[in-house]
Symmetry: C2
Subunit: 335 residues, 2 copies
Amino acid sequence: MSTILEVATRAGVSHATVTRYFRKPDLLAPVTYQRVKEAVEELNYVPNATARALFTGQTDIVSLIVPAITSSFFTEMADGAEDKAHELGYTLTLGTTDKDIERERTYLEALISHRVDGIIITPGTDSVEHIELLKRHKIPVVLVDRQIKDTHVDFVGGDSLDAGVLLTRHLIQQGFKDIAFVGGEPGAWSLKERLSGYRQVMQSAGLEERVYLGSYKPECGKKITTNLIQEDQLPEAILAASSRVILGIFNALREYQLRVPEDIALTCVDDVAPASIINPFLTVVEQPAYHIGQMAMQCLVNRIKGSTEPPDTHILPVELIVRRSSIKSERLHIS
Amino acid sequence: MSTILEVATRAGVSHATVTRYFRKPDLLAPVTYQRVKEAVEELNYVPNATARALFTGQTDIVSLIVPAITSSFFTEMADGAEDKAHELGYTLTLGTTDKDIERERTYLEALISHRVDGIIITPGTDSVEHIELLKRHKIPVVLVDRQIKDTHVDFVGGDSLDAGVLLTRHLIQQGFKDIAFVGGEPGAWSLKERLSGYRQVMQSAGLEERVYLGSYKPECGKKITTNLIQEDQLPEAILAASSRVILGIFNALREYQLRVPEDIALTCVDDVAPASIINPFLTVVEQPAYHIGQMAMQCLVNRIKGSTEPPDTHILPVELIVRRSSIKSERLHIS
DNA sequence: TTGTACGCGTTATCAG
DNA sequence: CTGATAACGCGTACAA
């Protein structure tokens, strides 16, 4: 851990010259350059980014805060964000908030303290409080997956309204009438959109809506489904708010030995990435998660570099992928 | 982004007093405390961790470098590491190296420059070079999943030898004789162990070994399997080196309309987390990934805090989970 | 082309 | 209990 001064001394120059060696090498005389170079190598000198940050006011660190890294959507999203961050020369920080919503606050404070250059966040609540906090500290923010109204910041996410529409329409086309919407964070933008897509289609088909909200967590899906089973209210088909919710639904169904799609049809928003390769089974609407991550990072960096464009809202198209879990005719073929 | 000096001025005290307000509040007279408190709140002051780091030499940042965050093992591992880091008051940085091994170098240099307090890494190669680099800079390191011999650092990983043994033995018990080992990074410790577990069991059973290495990536599984199919050399059963490799294997099999387990039995190391809930299908050896992440982080922080114990090697037990993909009798039952 | 001096925001020491 | 002061390592005017 040598310092710039040690390098300077060893090379017989001033520390300003060593700085120039890194920042503006052209300005150095060849001989000087060589001597500094040798000194740097001999001492394994690496400039101290912390010290530089103090001066420049830039840390070259950006952060990603998501509910859960184990959720396939966020895993892929993080992958895209990380790739883009690396490409643009930033170091990426990761924080998750789902296990304890208090963590969102803790993390933001730590990041503010560390003076990170910017933050990509999927907020846990629809409250503007945390966003305002970042604004006060002039830290650029990009929202992903969950928009917050009346807050002028960039947003990147999948077309959740369309997701709800596509899945509901598909289920109806399959001939299902009793279709329930299960799970989702009531306050979240993505939930509201998905739900409203569901409602639109149900209404125009003249079908009765059945909505059971809660959270995006697996436990939510499990609890709701268990209740429905116990009260003998299980619908013909379920549209799960997310891939995590559907995991809980599967758990509940399995406990009662119910089969998909023989006993109930299932669909959800977000593909469950590796599962779909091993055994393509679940009908889903896939969001371009990796792309969303990349785009969010690009947006963020644009802001960091000083872009003053009005806040952008990027809604990316989603895709319906029909597989066995929602096919009514499968009920005859199988078993 | 106010500074300690602005707070001091506003409170009518010196900046030293403001520091005390945060570090040793007891030392302040109640009146002073109040005045500082108000000033802090009015200005939304948050101490600058960067400046503090410059002085203390500690950034309170730790880093995680893995091949791919989209691999279920690493996703869970990262989750555990992140939880533990948060619990211990550290901010976690994430980097992936699989898409471009050059990135490992780039990342390490950035982290050295940022003077992170410590690094957890699953090295992409078995070379000691990068580890030595970190040692030179006196940055504590913990290895995960891939040990590197002759390098005295802590290691945490699953029992890969046992993983190989368990899966191979299981396949043999199922009555398979022509069992191939597919995929894996030849230089990686985990691969060597898994492979040697396979070999031990095959030898003592008097069966012929068939080994096809490559990498841990999906493409590797796909390529090898495709070759085997085209040369009509497909074995009765495959033991895939990892969950990512098996994804490629599935892809290849599907292209040729081959079914599992009817046409070939499949197993692998690492569970594919969400897939196993939706459709429990794959016989695997599960590693305690979350726990490994937690433990690695705890180890790292112990080192950071100055532990001088000799390097620890934590090999955690793994568990065989038998499911349909490797059951020979299924060949008769299904279609 | 190179060196000097100053400031970035903290913390710790040492007087007072 | 509180205030100066030096130091952490670096980058940039400005001067030479």
